[in-house]
C-alpha cells in the first residue's frame, strides 16, 4: 500500500478515506472501530460511539506507516472470527494477494453476517502500466525482491494478469453480495464517501 506514483500513495489515500468515514459514521451515531494491519494487526480499536473516539481513531491513523510483506487473506479470515457483533465491515486494500485466500476470508465475513464493502484501492500506474524505459521494480513489501524488465514487452502480460485478477475479484465479491468498488488514487476521496452514504441510506 506504500506505492506512490504521481499521486498520493495508496496508504495516504486510505488514511484520508478512513478518517473521513469515521467522522461521517460517528456523526450518524454509529459506533466505529478501526483495524490497521500489515504482516500482523498493528492497531485494533474496538467500535465506540463517543466523540473522543474520533480523535483516538484519527490519531492512530496518523501514526501508522505502511509496513512489510502482507498476506492479508489469513489475517482477514482471523479477524472475521474476532469481531464480536454483526456490523458493517469496510475494507480498504489493494488486495494484492492470492485470490482464493481472499475469497475465503471474505466469505468468512459474510458467514458471520457482516455487511461488507470492499474498496479496492489502486494507483493509476498499476492500472495502466505507463512505464516505457527499462525499469527495475523493487518489491515494496519484501526487501531484496527485484525484477529488472523491459516494460514495453511485458506490458501486455501484466495488463492481462492484472485485469483478470480485478475482474475475478469483482465477480466473486458480487457472488457474495459484497459491494466492490475500485478506487483510483487520482480520483477525489469523496467518491468513497458517497458510496458509503448511499449504502447507509439504502439500509434505513
Amino acid at each position: 500500500m506504500g506505492y506512490r506514483g504521481r499521486h498520493p500513495s495508496k496508504f495516504q489515500y486510505v488514511q484520508y478515506i478512513a478518517g473521513s468515514l469515521a467522522y461521517l459514521m460517528l456523526h450518524q451515531l454509529d459506533a466505529v472501530g478501526l483495524v490497521v494491519h500489515d504482516t500482523r494487526v498493528r492497531h485494533l480499536i474496538p467500535p465506540r460511539a463517543n466523540s473522543k473516539h474520533l480523535l483516538n481513531l484519527l490519531h492512530t491513523l496518523e501514526r501508522t506507516e505502511p509496513g512489510g510483506e502482507t498476506s492479508m487473506a489469513p489475517l482477514w479470515h482471523e479477524l472475521a472470527g474476532q469481531l464480536p457483533r454483526r456490523g458493517m465491515v469496510i475494507i480498504l486494500s489493494d488486495c494484492f494477494d492470492q485470490l482464493p485466500g481472499l475469497v475465503r476470508a471474505l466469505r468468512h465475513f459474510r458467514h458471520r453476517r457482516h455487511e461488507v464493502i470492499l474498496f479496492h484501492v489502486l494507483a493509476p500506474e498499476e492500472l495502466e502500466f505507463p512505464f516505457k524505459r527499462r525499469t527495475q521494480f523493487r518489491n515494496l513489501e519484501a526487501r531484496g525482491h527485484r525484477l529488472l524488465v523491459d516494460p514495453h514487452r511485458l506490458r501486455q502480460t501484466y495488463l492481462e494478469n492484472f485485469q483478470a485478477f480485478c475482474r475475478d475479484l469483482r465477480a466473486r465479491a458480487g457472488e457474495m453480495q459484497i459491494d466492490y468498488h475500485l478506487l483510483r488514487t487520482d480520483e477525489p476521496v469523496d467518491r468513497a464517501l458517497g458510496i458509503y452514504l448511499t449504502k447507509r441510506q439504502s439500509r434505513r
Binding site: G2, F131, F137, E141, T157, N161
Partner: protein, 138 residues
Amino acid sequence: MTFGFLNALMLIGLAAVAIPPVVHLLTRRRYDVVDWGAMQFLQVSESTRRRLLIEEILLMLLRMGLIAVMVLGLAAPYAVHPALATLGRQPNRDVVLVFDGSDSMGFAGGSRTPHEAAQAWATAFIDRLAAGDRVAVL
C-alpha cells in the same frame, strides 16, 4: 573460380558490426527504479520469458547483420566464373543475317516454304536481341 573485393580496405568497417552489442552492454547499467506493490502481476511464465529473450537476440543479430551487409556491399565483392556469365550484362553485338535468295527457298513441300520458315526464325531471333545490338540483313 576467383573472387575478391574491389574495395577491400572497406572491410575494416566490419568492426562496426560490434556496435549494437557494445551499445547494449553500455546501456544495460542504466534503468529507472520503481518501488512497486503489484509484483505478482509482473511474473511471466518461463516460456514467455524465453520467447522474449529469443526475440531480443534475433533483433540484435538483425542489426549486426544489416551493418555487415552494408559494409560488404561497399567493399564491392566480385566473382569470375563461366557459370555466372549469363547473370551479368552481355556486351552488345553486331549481327548480320544472310538470307538465301535463291529459288530453292521457294520449295512448297512442307507446311511452309523455307523462305517463310527463315523469316519466322529471323523475326523471333530479332525479338530476342538486346537493346543496343545491331542487325544487318543481306
